[in-house]
């Protein structure tokens, strides 16, 4: 039982990271119905930037800020050059350009920082706490709290501000939103910026937690984000958050009780299972069926 709780705890911590990344990803999908394949690679690049700043001895709040700025800039650039020209095409074309843009980012990161895995340059939160029979590290608690705070902030923005209303209008009916005078380009840019920023925080926490910064983490991150979003209900921010947590816990339990090395497979098989059995996700709304 203790073992189970421990796995659960680990799963929740990892899951919170997935949740943050997934929410950032889902923002873009929810508003634009776009599979943002560059999500992970943008935050990977931004994380590397932040880590590089830390290497140069910059204080960590500034490094984080640097990372956030990078992710926002990259997110906007991707939107401007890879997505906006295809705004009127169907969903496939931007998905493919997204893949292309992701590859470009990966190549650039590889050239700048090399293919090896770097350790995370800050030692954070190694202190351990015992809560309810399971052992939590300080870092895990930081992660859980950060995730909760960011999610709440995001929820407030989307539900209660005019930005949020604009985003929802664009999701529901882009042409009409345009006609109504909603500043579409600016709102879309904001969506990307916020989504990338959330991903960036997730990425930083990921690197801190696993003590690893490497180019491949971007792609893995995108795939996990997608799996989490699908599990929870694609297009729904709450669903993405829940999906991330579920994903983390499922992975931890599977790895703990079945076999290690198959974490990714667990994620994708769960995702495929949901798509077949309940395509709207665990918390999603009804979906349209096709012939």
């Amino acid at each position: 039982m203790i073992e189970f709780l421990q796995q659960l705890a680990n799963g929740l911590a990892a899951g919170s990271i997935y949740a943050l990344i997934a929410v950032g990803y889902s923002m873009v999908y929810g508003v634009l119905e776009l599979i943002n394949f560059t999500h992970g690679d943008v935050y990977m690049f931004a994380t590397f930037t932040a880590v590089s700043l830390l290497w140069f001895g910059v204080a960590w709040p500034l490094a984080v800020l640097g990372g956030l700025l990078t992710s926002a800039v990259l997110g906007l650039a991707v939107e401007r050059f890879a997505y906006r020209p295809l705004r009127n095409a169907n969903r496939i074309a931007p998905t493919i350009t997204a893949v292309g843009a992701a590859l470009i980012l990966e190549n650039a990161a590889q050239l700048i920082w090399g293919p090896q895995t770097e350790p995370f340059p800050m030692s954070i939160g190694r202190r351990l706490f015992r809560i309810g029979g399971a052992i939590f590290s300080e870092l895990q608690i930081v992660i859980l709290i950060t995730a909760a705070i960011m999610a709440t902030i995001l929820f407030v923005i989307v539900q209660y501000t005019s930005w949020g209303r604009a985003m929802r209008a664009i999701r529901d009916d882009l042409p009409t939103a345009e006609l109504l005078g909603i500043p579409v380009n600016r709102t879309v840019a904001a969506v990307y910026a916020i989504g990338s920023a959330m991903g960036m925080i997730g990425g930083l926490l990921f690197s801190a937690y696993y003590n690893a910064v490497y180019v491949g983490m971007g792609f893995t991150g995108t795939m996990n984000a997608f799996a989490a979003a699908v599990l929870g209900g694609i297009g729904s921010l709450r669903g993405a958050f829940a999906g991330g947590l579920i994903l983390g816990v499922t992975q931890a339990l599977a790895v703990g009780y079945i076999a290690s090395g198959y974490e990714n497979s667990v994620a994708f098989l769960a995702m495929i299972g949901i798509l077949l059995v309940r395509p709207s996700g665990l918390f999603g709304g009804p979906t349209v069926s096709r012939v």
Partner: protein
Amino acid sequence: MTQRLRGAGPASARNRGPAGKGLSASIIGPSRARFGWFAAVISACVAGTFGLLVPPILCSQYEVHVLTLVCIYIPLVLGQNLITGNSGQLSMGHAAFYGFGAYTVGILGGVYGWPTPPVLLAAIVATGLLGFLVGLPAIRISGDYLFIVTIGLNLVFIDVVTQWNSMTGGTSGIPGLPIPSFGPIEVRTYSDFYYLALVIALLSLAVVIAIVRSRFGRMVEAVRDDSLAAAACGISLTPVRIAVFVVGAGLAGLSGAVLAYFIGFVGPTDFGVEQSLLIFEMAILGGLGSAAGSVVGAVLLVGVPEILRFLQPYRLGMVGLVMVVLMVYRPQGILGKVKVTNLIRK
């Protein structure tokens, strides 16, 4: 004046010119049969002679090596094109089928020492079966989700292959595969492998063209263009979509088998998502829906990087750039008649 519908009527003689009979007409088209047949035979002879004689005699060993790789990629891209171009299904994990064929050779040919012809057959059939298993759930998952799902399956394949040490040799793979032989004929030298790959590429091309130009091929394209209308004509969608997966996967398995024998080794590195993306790009660059386009795509994206070796560190980015440029400026690729952008009806 009404008349009952009959088989033949005066209308048939009207606009079709000398209606070609026979196989050529079936594949090339009745009114174009005469001229088309002649031109096809001549160009096949020229290309065949060129392909058979020139490389081993005039080209360096390295160039023959590259040409062999091109020929190995051709069935691979043809299969991807069949699934994504002709059938409109965004399958992205094609390298998993490629790898499955290669590992079939590694296990049956390498570990168990089976002779070559049954191993090749097993590679095609087993990978085709895998294609069937993938195709089954695939038809229930739409458009861009399928894209991600198939990438996920590719990753699952890599995971399995890397972890299942006892069967696949894990990350080290299976080294020391035997020389392939067909009865007394051994495939040893660079030229030998080139001929093998060339013959297989040509056979695959013939098979794909036969499929695409048949009534079945028309059904596949109809289902892609408008599945509702196709169903309203009585066409059963599921078997059509799955059959395409089976053939596409089988072709990829064949490619993988040849690759394995060619390199003499099987390992997980060649069969990941990066490879799938490359194959996909070959298909869209050449042009979806066009078999000739697939050949062009393979030639360009295998040949050019070899020629421009100095661009090696930028390869990934170049692949990405080509994707973006293609989608924005020419989504139908070079020879395609289907735009990727049209693959989903909104």
